[in-house]
Symmetry: C2
Subunit: 83 residues, 2 copies
DNA sequence: TTCTTCTGGTACATGATATGAACGAGATGG
DNA sequence: CCATCTCGTTCATATCATGTACCAGAAGAA
């Protein structure tokens, strides 16, 4: 059976800004802030701030938990990652 | 189709010591070094050393990638995590 | 003994997190 | 029009967590 993105409670993702929704999958794929910055043409520091904002809005403690969340929500797929 | 733990190339997991195999799923569940230490009754520094050793043996860059690896290998399951 | 594992340590570099702030766009109410 | 309010985007500084590179002793197995 296909892993349906869980509908989830009051849509937690709607709390994220468009830019934050761009950052989220990159974090979840294990990319660090420097990589995210160069992908989106923003500074590492800005990327850092977005990750913090995402983490706070989602109530998570660190990047690894962001990745686990994104997988559960179907935002990213394990096949999308490299390693 | 059930997500079979991929047999993987020359078994990468066999390179890990027994203790490292205990640490791996904890890292993959998003726990920090302090938490891992208190769970296994070792110091945060020792936990840190194990994580470094695991990462090097598996050729990964950070904890998030360790989590993605563990999921692909079926070492942990998304349902095992809290968030 | 020799080897491996487990444990803890020091010292430093890099990455992540907390917090603040500047700026502009858009809405609102006067 | 103007003041203000909210939000998004951007970047910064300071502190904390993680990562890197070693070292070394204890315990047990080969």
């Amino acid at each position: 059976m296909a892993q349906l993105p869980s509908p989830h409670r009051p849509n937690l993702l709607d709390q994220l800004s468009p830019r934050e929704r761009e950052i989220l999958p990159l974090v979840a794929q294990g990319k660090d802030n420097r990589e995210i910055g160069s992908i989106l043409f923003i500074s590492e520091k800005t990327a850092k701030n977005y990750v913090t904002s995402i983490r706070k809005k989602l109530g998570l403690k660190n990047r690894t938990q962001i990745a686990l969340f994104a997988l559960k929500e179907g935002i990213i797929n394990l096949d999308d990652t490299i390693d």
